[in-house]
């Protein structure tokens, strides 16, 4: 279970007179339950990536609290990270290592025992249909192959909570479908808590049990797709999102 409450973060860019303060996250709240896929939906620059970076501990929030499975980030950041499997915006692999070596490396860093880490690797390769990739070097991988390897790497320690930052970016239809299917399996068969950030409506409609809509760094609405449509007074989810994120006029504020 992931709970982010009233997170705030501002960045200062430039120095001296040209210094500018940007409010990247301004009151972000998200509660994601086990056994459910929670969508974090917002336009570009809404603060999704910053929020997820705060969850991992790469960015320290100015205020607000983060807890994973009841463990507060401020008390024990390492225990929080151990409970998370994160596919971040940056998903670079080591090109001179094979897919298997890339996955096992992270497994070991997550503290997975040596005898288990290979078995986990094989299991994930079956789940993500990437057995043929395992012993190939990562240089020359396609976008889809890279994403699968990065996802397997994020899941190697069998985390209870999975956080995916725009995972379908750059993927073709087949790869997107395969990913969606894998996430359903993880939710239904193992009861994982999955947070899925995106700006693509169809993905949210097809996959998410609950949706948190963010805009300008703020949490603006949450609920199921149907309840959000009802809340916005629209039948189409895209219309509902635009109205919720940008106001009744449907233009950015």
């Amino acid at each position: 279970m992931i709970a982010m409450d009233d997170l705030r973060k501002q960045f200062t860019t430039g120095r001296g007179r040209s210094a500018r303060t940007v409010m990247a996250v301004d009151g972000m709240t998200l509660h994601a339950q086990d056994g459910a896929i929670t969508g974090l939906l917002g336009p570009n620059g809404a603060g999704k990536t910053t929020s997820l970076r705060m969850l991992v501990g790469l960015v320290t929030p100015d205020s607000g609290s983060i807890a994973v499975d009841g463990i507060d980030m401020r008390d024990d950041p390492q225990a929080v990270r151990a409970r998370l499997g994160v596919l971040s915006d940056a998903r670079g692999l080591y090109p001179r290592l094979t897919a298997r070596e890339n996955i096992v490396y992270h497994g070991r860093l997550h503290g997975v025992p040596d005898d288990e880490v290979q078995a986990r690797c094989e299991h994930l390769a079956r789940l993500l249909e990437m057995e043929a990739l395992l012993d190939r070097r990562a240089e020359g991988f396609s976008q889809g192959e890279r994403m699968k390897t990065a996802l397997a790497r994020a899941l190697v320690h069998d985390p209870d909570n999975i956080v995916l930052d725009e995972p379908t970016n750059g993927l073709d239809v087949v790869a997107t479908r395969a990913l969606r299917e894998a996430l359903r399996v993880l939710r239904d068969e193992t009861g994982k808590c999955i947070v899925f950030s995106t700006h693509i409506m169809q993905e949210v409609e097809r996959l998410c049990d609950r949706v948190v809509v963010v805009s300008h760094g703020r949490h603006v609405a949450d609920g199921t797709v149907a309840s959000l449509c009802e809340q916005a007074g629209c039948t189409d989810f895209e219309d509902a999102f635009v109205r919720l994120a940008f106001g009744p006029e449907g233009t950015p504020q």
Partner: protein, 390 residues
């Protein structure tokens, strides 16, 4: 999370990653491991040529037929007399002629018979290094002729030649073989030190700026492994590579000795297992500090290219250090042993000269290197999280 396990995992991964980069490794290997012995062999060839010339006892002359007395003297000195080619002046200028030319005027014998000093021309070009190196020998040879003739005249007048010499110069060269050779082998420390720099540089960039550029740093920091353990693991791999290249570079001088062309240089240059062990021991702390410093410079950069440009400053500083000791007229001073790279150069030169080294000589640079390593690694560890999100 066990920090030791994380450290070991990162160390093994980074080492494996760097060793798979065959192309870079090959370039490093050629530039740092093969370069030193190659220069040593070239240098010995040059010295060998000088020696050969000195042994050959040859003199190039123009108009020696005008001076039978001088010819007689030269032949008694067992010199081989060669006539200069017709275009000798042009050849000297173009460095095609490697000997200075002795020019005898037509009235040589006549002047000598009348007690007038005949003028002997000694022509060389200071831009022609080969010819210039022979000038001293020829001047000495001709002065010998001058003295002999003078002595004969004094004897003919019933005066002892010793009247002309009020004192005698006894030359004593107190340099031993090793320190004489060190004049020529003084650049050896430079080569092995640069080997450390080039050996560690690529890995230092790849493990820091390279991680940022690839976008693999953020996922790495999402693991529960302690930042310090990650940094030490990475540094360990960079340090090992730097040291590996240093070891190979030092050991490569041992077989290279058999290729030395100059016999006297080969006799003077003694670089055995003991010297190699000293070199490696002295270089290890420097390799540790340099690896950490290069990582500290690189972690601030977004791309490996930017990091490489930033690291040029450090590389330049290291490469100019041996020059300080080369141009230092005052000889070794105490502060030399406190400056990293300069201290190692100084001490490695002492090893080559077979001069004693006490633990107190090694301690200052060891201390500075340890402080630098700890400071740089602490900096990298602090920057890691900050830079990952940028």
């Amino acid at each position: 999370m066990n920090n030791w396990r994380a450290m070991g995992t990162v160390f093994v991964k980074e080492l494996k990653d760097a060793l798979r980069d065959r192309r870079t490794l090959m370039v490093v290997f050629i530039t740092s491991v093969a370069m030193g012995p190659l220069v040593l062999v070239l240098l010995s060839t040059l010295v060998g040529k000088f020696e050969k010339r000195a042994e050959a006892r040859e003199i190039v002359t123009v108009g020696l037929d005008n001076a039978p007395t001088l010819r007689n003297y030269l032949e008694r000195q067992t010199y081989v007399i060669k006539s200069a080619p017709a275009d000798w002046e042009a050849r000297l200028k173009d460095s095609k002629l490697g000997d200075p030319v002795v020019v005898i005027p037509g009235d040589f014998e006549d002047a000598l018979a009348h007690g007038e000093p005949p003028r002997i021309g000694l022509v060389y070009s200071s831009a022609n290094q080969r010819a210039q190196s022979g000038v001293g020998t020829i001047v000495q040879l001709l002065q010998g002729f001058d003295q002999e003739q003078g002595a004969l005249r004094l004897i003919a007048r019933g005066v002892s030649p010793s009247v002309m010499s009020v004192s005698r110069i006894d030359e004593h060269d107190i340099a031993d073989n090793a320190s004489r050779a060190a004049q020529l082998t003084g650049m050896l420390p430079y080569f092995v030190m640069m080997a450390v720099v080039y050996g560690a540089l690529n890995a230092a960039l790849d493990t820091t700026a390279g991680e940022r550029e690839r976008g693999s740093l953020e996922p790495l920091l999402a693991t529960p492994a302690a930042r310090g353990a990650l940094v030490i693991g990475k540094w360990g791999a960079v340090f090992s590579l730097g040291l590996l290249i240093a070891v190979l570079s030092c050991l490569s001088f041992i077989p290279a000795q058999s290729l030395l062309r100059s016999e006297s240089l080969a006799a003077l240059f003694r670089f055995g297992w003991v010297e190699a062990a000293w070199f490696i021991g002295l270089l290890a702390p420097l390799a540790a500090a340099l690896s950490a410093l290069m990582m500290a410079i690189a972690i601030r950069c977004k791309t490996a290219k930017e990091a490489q440009a930033n690291n040029v400053v450090l590389t330049l500083a290291i490469s100019t250090m041996p020059l300080v000791s080369l141009f230092n007229q005052e000889g070794e001073t105490a502060w030399n042993l406190w400056v990293p790279a300069l201290a190692q150069t100084t001490l490695m030169n002492r090893v080559l000269k077979n001069a004693p080294i006490s633990p107190l000589d090694v301690l200052p640079s060891l201390f500075i290197c340890i402080v630098l390593t700890i400071a740089a690694l602490t900096f990298v560890s602090r920057q890691l999280t900050k830079r990952a999100a940028q």
